[in-house]
Amino acid sequence: MVTWENYEEYMLLYADRELSDVQQQQLMDFIALHTELQQELDMYDATRLIPVTEEVYTDKESLLKSLPVKRSISLRRTWVYSAAAVMLLLASIGIFRWGQNTGTQQINVAQVPRSTKPSASIDTPQQNSTVPIQQKETAPIVVEQKEKHNAASEKQSNQGPTTPSITKQAIAHEPILVKNESIEKINIVPVQVAKVTIAVEHKAVEIPVASISRSEVKVANNPTVNKTNKKYNYLLASLPFSKERRKGLNELKNAVANGVQQVRTASYNLKASDLRLKIGNKDVLVVKL
């Protein structure tokens, strides 16, 4: 109920928009009865402030927030480094493998044509050899069949025990091709072959024939080797040496060839020792071969 005692409070509440509809109607009724209060009501109503909507905060962008930057950059960098390291490792392995194959071919092919397929056949010699050779016990023994025999060597080998030194000369440079990474146990067994290739899978290591003698020889179909052997055999045959001396010379030649072959093998193995990947001064990866 609006009275002369509380009408001002009603006007203040009206200016604050806190009157209910009923209260507002009561106030209006009271003002209608006392019109001299209308101006006072208008003054209170005029105290209401009207916001200036044109006044805006222009720098909103500085208030906006974005998602915190994740540390994916460093992860991305790590990923790139890892990918680079893997690529480098693969490239190194590829180069290493390529070099390994190339090296093997250089050593073997230069002297003996590669066997097309490992087999267990052994050339049957026409003469029994009493000289032991080094042979892996467990590895399959493969005798390389030469497609084209050296005429001189074959002729000499068919002559029997009268010309064993020439045969020995012919095989002096012939290595035994052992295709196995590890040769654990080596026995010395007498073999009656001219050229023996011990072949297993994986890797090839050459073992020089140190002391094959008095055997039927099928000389490798390598023009360079054949030529060298021919020359050597011819020179040896032309010398007025006794059979024992020729045998001794042959063994000496074989020993030298053996030494040379061992040096070659050691050199080759040294090249293929380790694979080490370094970034800066830090060893990232070391592959023991």
């Binding site: 604050d16 003054m43 209170y44 005029a46 402030l49 805006v56 905060y57 909103k60 906006l64």
Partner: protein, 160 residues
Amino acid sequence: MELKDYNACVHQWSDALFRFARKCTGNEEDARDVVQNSFEVLWQKREEVRTEKAKAYLFQVGYRQSVDIYRRKGRIQYKEQLEHTDTTTHSNHDLKKILERALELLDEQQKALVLLKDYEGYSYEEIAQITGLSDSQVKVYLHRARKTLKEYLVKVENII
């Protein structure tokens, strides 16, 4: 409150907060500082503030900062300016401008209450939450401010 809610608050309430701070402090640069600081506080407390309470929280922070600035810089300066302009520009018939000058007669608390009531339409209870006053205090202070403003308007009208 999530990031998107916060950014929505920036777009929705930064202008109102700026106008409120502008009237409270009487200075645009101070008002900008108030807005910047208020939103920074809201961002820091976003885990605790619910989205529907964000506006009240912003105005609460803005009110306190505006009052601090007003008190730090001194109300005397503004009142002196007001009295000076009041005596020299009383011929201005624009009610809006007269009312703005009348607003300078109020202390920082009354001014804030009037602004919160008229600009933002808060109820007594909401204003009490923002300002930390009781409902009855809000009502009393606000009515006191209205009477001051009305008296000023009557006075100017009589002069005119």
